[in-house]
Symmetry: C2
Subunit: 339 residues, 2 copies
DNA sequence: CTGAAAGCGCTAACAT
DNA sequence: ATGTTAGCGCTTTCAG
């Protein structure tokens, strides 16, 4: 339990010098700096983050708030954020809102306000003006992923663009009867992401002179199972069968591929399927997809926070930063079979 | 930024009384307690965890150290731990060792020692004696999941028993030619878990008078893709084809099912498949499995920690606590077809 | 470039 | 039951 005084005594300097030598703030001669380092190492000294935080008002810790933990997307974002934070010497404390209303209140009213974090990353969470206000009033920067959030710097992909991109790929291959599997109102928590992707899909169809057919839309959960059932409904329906399906997530797309296999429909010969995410399973299923890079999003969020926390670094101006997505063509999409 | 002195002034009492009233330590009359609460609420006072930690030596924060984040198991454990911790008023800070050696050292030498956590939960991490020693020397309890760890209270499933249970289920159905897909030496990080499951498998076979056949074992990654390729190798091999396969994880088992489907082998008519985990996809694939309950393991780990942190609670005595597993029979296993 | 000393905001004896 | 007060371990003016 060596403290700063032990190190000071050992190095024959004052605690103030130890503090400066180790933190790099203020000027210390190279010689004493070296002596201090050696002394610290020899007694295994590590600063107490509490004492340091109390004195400086900074915690070197940031809070990450998420709605679930068990979806691929969140794990990837957190993973990216975590390693970026660690490289800046920050810790990450996790607040999972899985529990619902009560838990959410408790997180915002107590946990985040205990002065334990310097800033907050909110992942696909529609914060209320009150929640944002409290944090900002305490001087804690926020960055949102999956925004936009009023008055908050956010990072988000262009979901309308994603819907367009996927659909245009299909149209470009020559498909004209294209179904869409997306989210329903229940899954609207995430900033209307499902609605936006659907809007992009319809826009692309319309631009290509194809009239969107409401019968070619199925709502589903954002899971393999959801995609499977929706896929079954679409592929079994008695109306005209689509030659291509745009699923709003890779998991749904994989479910759709499984449904097609079960019905003896070949992918991509009889049916093209495209998803969104570049999920860890996408490559295995040969799924063509619009990749978003969640780990990269986590890293970016951290960089934005560092900009706000260290005014020396220059700020970005835009409030909502668009995130790069990319069409990844694999083997689940192809030209429709000749009639 | 209301502090404890503001609340004290407002309530007309000393800061000591405010501290006692709000923390519940020491006796405060119900009347003043109420006045303090009101005063605190009116100015939006929340204790500074740093100041509090510095004074008490306790942080109300625990560190969770994991090797990866993007596997189903880890997400589930963390999720369970997180909500249990929150209900005890604790925060969770996450240390992901994904980066490898250097990152691991940095976590143990700096992050965990900054006096920011009261205790550590290590998930499927084989801590070195040195790592354990440092933590314990600082008075920080550790509990391991997926143990056992020398000198550390751990929680783990009986992997040999799991292998036995799965295999006995298959034998009980009448199978005699049973293949196994497990991990190879490379995946041995996790406490020889793959080896133990394989040992249980062989033990069950031997007990039933079946001679284990090394040709019926395939090593693979613990993923759907790994299981798929291993399944393909087994099912395509020219030797005698097994009527059942025990995969060491559900993801592998699912991969195996997909391989069987591709070869036109029906599950369970032509081939029974059993896994381990009760993964979120297990139900969708109708997979029979040996369920382990990771979220519950996370909660249990927290309870064990609370026992150590609050000596008032009574301790368990065992160092390695076995965790409950359960055979869940679904539709991927059945009696072998009559010959 | 280095030292002395005053806090940071709270808790826990010790009194009363 | 409540108040007084001495720290907890570090950082940061302010001097020198």
């Amino acid at each position: 339990m060596a403290g700063i005084t032990d190190v000071a005594a050992l190095a024959g300097v004052s605690t103030a010098t130890v503090s400066r030598a180790l933190s790099g703030n203020g000027h210390v001669s190279e010689a004493t700096k070296e002596r201090v380092r050696a002394a610290a190492a020899s007694v295994g000294y590590v600063v107490s983050s509490n004492a340091s935080s109390l004195a400086t008002g900074r915690t070197k810790n940031i809070g990450v708030v998420i709605p679930y933990l068990n979806r691929w997307f969140y794990g990837a974002v957190i993973s990216g954020a975590e390693s970026a934070l660690m490289s800046h010497g920050y810790d990450l404390t996790l607040y999972n809102l899985q529990g619902g209303g009560e838990e959410r209140r408790s997180v915002f009213e107590h946990f985040l306000l205990r002065k334990r974090v310097d800033a907050v990353i909110a992942i696909t969470l529609e914060l209320t003006a009150d929640e944002v206000g409290r944090l900002l009033a305490l001087g804690k920067p926020i960055v949102g992923i999956g925004g936009p959030l009023p008055g908050v710097r956010t990072l988000s992909i262009d979901d309308v663009g994603v819907g367009r991109l996927a659909t245009e790929h299909l149209i470009g291959l020559g498909h004209t009867v294209i179904a869409h599997i997306g989210g329903d109102k229940a899954s609207e928590t995430d900033f209307h992401m499902p609605t936006s992707r659907r809007a992009g899909h319809y826009a692309a169809l319309t631009d290509a002179g194809i009239t969107p057919d409401p019968k070619l839309f199925e709502a589903a959960d954002f899971t393999i199972e959801g995609g499977y059932h929706a896929g079954l409904r679409i592929l079994r329906s008695l109306g005209r069968r689509p030659t291509a399906i745009f699923a709003a997530s890779d998991e749904m797309a994989i479910g759709t591929i499984l449904a097609a296999r079960e019905l003896g429909i070949r992918v991509p010969e009889d049916l093209s399927v495209i998803g969104v995410d570049d999920h860890e399973l996408a490559n295995f299923f040969g799924l063509t997809t619009v990749a978003q890079y969640p780990a990269r999003q986590g890293e970016l969020a951290v960089e934005m926070l560092m900009d706000e926390l260290h005014p020396a670094r220059r700020h970005r101006n835009e409030l909502d930063t668009p995130v790069h997505v990319e069409l990844l063509v694999r083997s689940s999409t192809a030209r429709p079979a000749a009639r």
